[in-house]
């Protein structure tokens, strides 16, 4: 038991997520056996992008993690996606389980209401975004997010001086960004945006596309016949920390 905790903490440490004021145990307290069916989802929007992650398929390889890093040029300490690992049971009846955690894109996002400048908002398509040009880097939202999905870009790089691919242009939100001191996204809060810039081009988020086990499904769940509701019609899904009433748009099936 103790062992699991230490290992999990280490996994998190490696991803540079400590020190964000996030209670670690809480993140893992998931709502298993959630009885909500999709029909009870409170969204009345026309559009709601969502992601289904099948943990029975996930092999914990972190392809998604690296695809995301490349796609969004995130520096050390900024991880839009992480994969949690859990060990359970005792020898020889033991297993490892994995849980990828992107931003939950909550229907009721606690991060949005604490932003003093309105830089982060719930878009009409269901994505919670950050306007880098408005964000003042106060980091209230970091503390507000119960999932540890947000991180602050301190302007660090993997290499000193920054490597050529770190200096290359990137395209979050469909805009062009170059990591330079004093310019966004440095000194902004950053998080997963379901690769909005790719969605705009009709592509799936990078983590979905790169998954070797095809564990992720991405769709607008309010669209009739979409891949998510079709896939989980007869299954129970669950959401992380559902009891908080945040109504995440990231759904899980399978056991963690």
């Amino acid at each position: 038991m103790n062992q699991d905790k230490i290992d999990r903490r280490k996994a998190i440490l490696g991803l540079g997520l400590t020190g964000m004021g996030m209670a670690f145990g809480e993140l893992l307290r998931v709502s298993l056996n959630e009885s909500d069916k999709w029909t009870k989802y409170p969204s009345s929007k026309k559009q709601q992008y969502a992601m289904l992650i099948n943990l029975d398929l996930c092999i914990g390889c972190n392809s998604c993690t690296i695809a995301c890093k490349q796609e969004n040029h995130t520096p050390p300490g900024v991880q839009y996606n992480i994969v949690l690992k859990k060990r359970e049971g005792t020898y020889p009846q033991c297993k490892e389980r994995y849980l990828p955690r992107p931003c939950m894109h909550c229907e009721k996002p606690p991060c949005v209401k604490v932003c003093p400048v309105g830089a982060t908002k719930k878009r009409k398509d269901g994505i919670v975004d950050i306007d880098y040009n408005k964000c003042i880097g106060c980091r209230y939202c970091l503390t507000a997010c119960p999932y540890g999905a947000r991180a602050y870009d301190f302007g660090e790089n993997y290499y000193t001086p920054p490597n050529s691919f770190e200096k290359a242009r990137s395209y979050e939100y469909g805009n062009e960004w170059v990591r330079e001191k004093g310019k966004s996204p440095i000194n902004n809060v950053r998080k997963c945006h379901f690769c909005l810039h790719r969605i705009k081009k009709g592509l799936e988020p990078a983590c979905v596309q790169s998954c070797m086990a095809q564990a992720r499904t991405f769709a607008d769940i309010n669209q009739v016949g979409n891949a998510i509701t079709t896939n989980i019609a007869n299954e129970n899904f669950w959401r992380l920390k559902d009891e908080l009433g945040t109504f995440p748009s990231v759904l899980y099936v399978g056991k963690f």
Binding site: Q3, I6, D7, L13, G14, L15, G16, G19, N54, D56, L57, I59, G60, C61, N62, S63, T65, I66, A67, K69, Q70, E71, H73, P76, G77, R87, T90, Y91, P92, C94, K95, E96, E156, Y158, Y159, T160, P161, N163, S164, F165, A168, R169, S170, Y171, G174, N175, E176, H197, R198, K200, K201, G202, L203, Q209, S210, C211, M212, A213, Q214, A215
Partner: protein, 1049 residues
């Protein structure tokens, strides 16, 4: 909050900045990217300025090399810089349902294949700031890590001419140059001597006759009294690590046909060699009285239709041969309920986590487990008798079977109970000496395996005497071995309960042909690995699964890149005028029987011989040290790091550091690596994103894939001039420059023949591509239209003429080939559609022949050291050294190694996104039961010791060492009594250490040295002066037979 602070306690940020600034000014390392500014200016702005990664001119297709699988990749560039790597959608390797080959690249931009995390992180491999740009020459003793930068041309002159190369640092030794070693350059003389050495080998000529006939040329030989040691050229050793088709042949052309040395040695015995060899021998056909041909090295289960998969020690989702190809069909199968998996492995791998059953077997008892299964299968009548009984092709055809077996071909029993050769029909007067004999209705019948007329079925269990000759059928022999222990006794050996053995075997035999056994490295990296492999292969044969949908079949392979097929434009065999025939015994004594050499003087031989293997990597340095069969004078190492990779590598370090044993040591490396740091000279090489090759399909592809690895980024190394052509410093440039200096054949003007030069890399590699393009079969490339030709140019606009010059590329080919070759280049290769996988209930690409349960050529060969005969069938054997003595160190733990999915042995520590960020260091994996016993808590530091390394010390150079210490990782998922250490951490070179260049210190990064490397611990063979224990038939170095003691600190 960088990820390195924890792992990097000694290096402050300022220190690093300082050294980086220094690097910039000397520019011997690649901190600044050549060509980046220029290409930025040339960049094409995207239509709406938002997502240029889907513009075709920002995409190039190539092949990965972050592990050996060589997945097809799609590299996306911004301003000439690679920023993202995905899978290539044209290839089934990375997109199971690949797009039609005819799709225009313009239309493929939004479709990506998948790729594993380390493949994606390849960008950090290529743009590593520690990359070497210029040649380094040591400025202190070997291993001192003091260097000076010297011009490429000067370096070439020095290694070719030799002399007192290090007199300026007080070393007075006269070092032989390559010109003094490569002395036999006369093709005619070489050919004549080679032919006669072949005669000596066949005992058709005596040494005295040879000496008389070649009396004017004996000075070319290492030892005229042993002409089979070959010419002095053999004292040049080229040792290479992971190398793929195309580059393999380029370097062989240089080493074997131009330098005339037999010693081109790859690293494959450190890898899956025994698996490959065992499969090859077990699937070989018999034609014209000889076994050979038709063998396949990597048959694998068809995961898309498998219903029961029994995995032995291969980490399918993490390493093995292709997580990218294997993960999806397996997880899909588990999820849909189609597939049930059991995993036999001492460690609970990720695939074991998903399995129905995890069987934590004792390391090295996989064969015993298989024999227990075989016993139960035979006792309970659960095996495919029909498949096994078919002795001829005709019999198989009559039953609608796809293959047949030698399960019934009688074997002679000699010396009491030793199974020897198959009985031949001529021996009992019922047929020829090329025919075998089976029993049918109690009578012997002559059999020709390929016989398409006589449908002969043999008796499965025969134990009889014919005309005074004692004979048994192979299945009978295997049965006796399986029945040599009760299930309870097998359970004792394997550590797996009888009920579990039975349950798994019952499952394995409940799905007909849709059950399969898969293994790779786990069961074979043991001294008994060959027999483990053969036993596991036979399990597949016993359920008759070869070539059936859901069963086992061969990979789809690729088109012939060497032009051996009719209609192909460049048959390389014919494209080397004045080729020097290499000959003689390789330094590793591979491919030769001890008994056929002139060195035979009874048993034990001084060192082992490997007649069934090749590329026996663990033998090179130890043999050089023993000067058996001869010493070496110069060595070139590339893409290989023996001190990191060869088990117990440090035992060979003194050889590497000794100028008497290795007078000239040259490396060609992308970095100052864990081994290249001990060299006299390090030449910079280019990475897989900057170079060429033509790798084939992976083990798990069922359709034909020929990939093209091609330059996708501007090389980071300096530009040099060879044969009057500018090119990036690289292994190719080094070899061509030496050839130019030595004026040796095969390179330069008219190298391929009149009017066909080899003066640039692509002169060679584009001919490989043309061969792939024009080989017969499906999806032959067509002429590109203007839009694709335009795209071809635009997508290479960031490459300078040294690497891409359209006119020069065109010149490598005939004009009519160009447009078709561009078609293949634009798609990263030539690929069949996934629709070509099946034909009804069978797999199209078939093994299609003999399943061999008995290997007579193995049974009639002796271990050169112990003098004992090998076995032609699977047996259970404990850990043995080369004298056949049991190794039992009575230490508490068995050591096993493994890899995480983001790590590949020696070359992924530069991948900060993946290896370093996800898992900054590895540890010593141990079960909580053991930890409790030793009073060890998770995270405690432990020192590890072994019989071959009782102090637990890692020797780094003659005056420097460090203890083998790691962090205990206490888990449930490993068998008690076993400890596991992953093998991609614990570097002492590769940018982890400080080095001195031209008097200034280049700081290493401590995070690259984090974790523990088990290499110094591996058990050495007591009889072989510093060589690891080895599996003697396939030649594998043992990785999992070491016993260790764990000392809490």
């Amino acid at each position: 909050m960088t990820d390195n602070h924890k792992a990097c306690p000694h290096l402050s940020r300022r220190d690093f900045l300082k050294s980086s600034a220094f690097l910039g000014s000397t520019s011997f390392l690649a901190t600044t990217l050549a060509g980046a500014e220029r290409s930025y200016a040339n960049a094409v702005k995207s239509e709406d300025g938002t997502y240029p990664l889907i513009q075709p001119e920002n995409i190039l297709y190539s092949a990965c090399l972050q592990c050996t699988v060589a997945c097809s990749i799609k590299v996306k560039l911004i301003d000439g810089v690679a920023v993202k790597i995905d899978g290539n959608p044209y290839s089934t390797m990375t997109l199971a349902k690949n797009i039609p080959y005819a799709t225009k690249p313009h239309d493929a931009v939004t479709i990506d294949g998948k790729l594993c995390p380390k493949g994606q992180a390849g960008i950090q491999h290529a743009y590593d700031p520690y990359r070497l740009r210029r040649v380094l020459k040591r400025k202190g003793p070997r291993g001192s890590n003091e260097w000076e930068v010297i011009p490429f041309d000067q370096a070439i002159t020095e290694v070719v001419e030799g002399g007192k190369l290090f007199s300026h640092i007080g070393e007075d030794t006269d070092i032989p140059g390559l010109k003094d070693i490569i002395i036999l350059k006369d093709a005619t003389v070489a050919k004549a001597m080679k032919d006669d050495v072949d005669k000596i080998r066949k005992k058709e000529m005596t040494v005295a006759e040879f000496k008389e006939k070649h009396k004017n040329n004996l000075h070319y030989l290492i030892d005229p009294n042993h002409p089979d040691k070959g010419p002095k050229n053999n004292q040049f050793l080229y040792q290479v690590g992971r190398i793929h088709n195309g580059r393999k042949e380029f370097t062989q052309r240089w080493v074997k046909d131009s330098m005339g040395s037999v010693n081109w040695i790859e690293k494959t015995t450190l890898c899956g060699q025994t698996s490959n060899k065992s499969w090859t021998f077990s699937t070989m056909g018999y034609t014209s009285g000889k076994w050979g041909g038709g063998g396949h090295k990597s048959p694998r289960p068809d995961h898309w239709n498998n219903e029961f998969l029994l995995v032995f020690g291969t980490i399918i989702f993490e390493a093995a041969y292709g997580p990218v190809q294997q993960s999806e069909p397996i997880t899909e199968g588990i999820n849909s309920g189609r597939l049930k998996i059991a995993v036999v492995d001492p460690r609970m791998t990720k695939v074991a986590s998903k399995a129905w059953k995890w069987l934590p077997v004792k390391p090295g008892t996989d064969g015993a487990f298989a024999l227990a299964m075989i016993r139960w299968m035979l006792e309970n009548d659960r095996y495919d008798k029909k498949y096994l009984a078919n002795a001829t092709k005709a019999a198989a055809n009559a039953d609608g079977e796809l293959g047949y077996s030698n399960a019934t071909y009688l074997v002679k029993i000699v010396d009491g109970d030793r199974a020897e050769k198959h009985l031949r029909a001529s021996e009992i007067g019922i047929g020829t000496e090329e025919q075998f004999v089976v029993m049918q209705n109690g009578q012997p019948v002559a059999v020709t395996p390929e016989d398409k007329v006589d449908a002969i079925e043999g008796e499965l269990f025969a134990d009889t005497e014919i005309e005074g000759i004692k004979v048994k059928s192979p299945l009978q022999i295997i049965k006796e071995e399986a029945f040599s222990k009760t299930l309870e006794q097998w359970s004792e050996v394997t550590g797996i309960e009888v009920k579990d053995i039975i349950e798994v075997t019952k499952e394995f035999t409940s799905y007909g042909r849709k059950a399969g056994v898969e293994f790779y490295r786990g069961p074979i990296k043991h001294t008994n690995g060959w027999y483990n492999a053969h036993a596991l292969i036979i399990l597949n044969f016993l359920v008759g699964n070869p070539d059936w949908k859901g069963g086992t079949s061969k990979p789809g392979g690729g088109w012939n890149y060497m032009g051996a097929n009719a209609g192909q434009p460049y048959d390389f065999k014919k494209l080397h005028p004045n080729k020097v025939n290499n000959f003689g015994i390789p330094i590793t004594r591979e491919g030769w029987n001890y008994e056929e050499s002139t060195l035979f003087e009874g048993y034990p031989a001084k060192r082992p011989w490997y007649p069934f293997s090749g590329n026996v990597a663990q033998e090179t340095w130890a043999s050089a040290n023993d000067e058996y069969p001869y010493g070496i004078k110069a060595a070139l190492i590339s893409s290989h790091t023996p001190m990191y990779s060869i088990p117990g590598g440090q035992a060979q370090l003194k050889t590497l550091l000794d100028p008497k044993k290795v007078p000239l040591l040259i490396s060609c490396d992308i970095i100052v690596g864990d081994t290249s740091q001990y060299s006299d000279y390090i030449f910079p090489d280019i990475t897989y994103l900057e170079r060429w090759a033509t790798p084939g399909a992976g083990h798990h592809d069922r359709v034909k894939n020929s990939q093209i690895r091609q330059p996708v980024i501007e090389p980071l190394t300096e530009t040099v001039e060879v044969f009057g052509e500018k090119m990036p410093a690289s292994l190719e440039a080094l070899m061509m420059a030496i050839a130019e200096k030595l004026n040796s054949s095969g390179f330069g003007k008219d190298a391929f023949g009149q009017g066909m030069d080899l003066v640039r890399m692509e002169d060679y590699y584009l001919k490989n591509v043309a061969n792939v393009t024009f080989d017969k079969g499906l999806n032959m490339p067509e002429d590109v239209q203007d839009d694709e030709m335009k795209l071809f140019r635009e997508s290479r606009r960031h490459l300078t003429p040294a690497i891409f010059d359209e006119e020069k590329w065109k010149k490598a080919l005939k004009p009519e080939e160009w447009k078709k070759v561009v078609y293949a280049l634009n798609r990263g290769g030539r690929f069949e559609s996934h629709e070509e996988t099946y034909d009804g209930e069978t797999i199209k690409k078939r093994l299609g022949g003999m399943s061999r349960l008995y290997l007579e050529e193995v049974a009639t060969t002796r271990h050169a050291v112990s003098g004992k005969y090998f076995y032609g069938y699977p047996i259970y054997q404990t850990v043995l050294d080369s004298m056949g003595k049991e190794v039992n160190d009575k230490r508490e733990f068995k050591l096993i190694t493994f890899k995480e999915v983001w790590g590949t042995q020696s070359r992924t520590i530069s991948n900060y996104w993946s290896q370093v960020s996800i898992m900054p260091e590895n540890g010593v994996l141990m079960n909580s039961i053991d930890a409790q016993k030793l009073g060890i808590k998770n995270g405690d530091m432990v020192q590890i010791q072994s019989a071959s390394n009782p102090e637990g010390i890692h020797l780094l150079d003659l005056g420097k060492s460090r203890p083998v210490i790691g962090k205990a990782k206490v888990v449930e998922g490993i068998r008690p009594g076993v400890v596991g250490i992953s093998t991609h951490f614990g570097h002492w070179g590769y940018g982890s250490n400080d080095i001195v260049v031209d008097g200034a210190i280049i700081k290493g990064e401590a995070k690259r040295g984090a974790g523990v490397h088990p290499n110094p611990l591996f058990r050495l063979d007591d009889n072989l002066r510093g060589t690891t224990l080895s599996e003697p038939i396939g030649g594998s170095a043992s990785f999992y037979d070491t016993e260790v003691t764990i000392i809490p600190l």
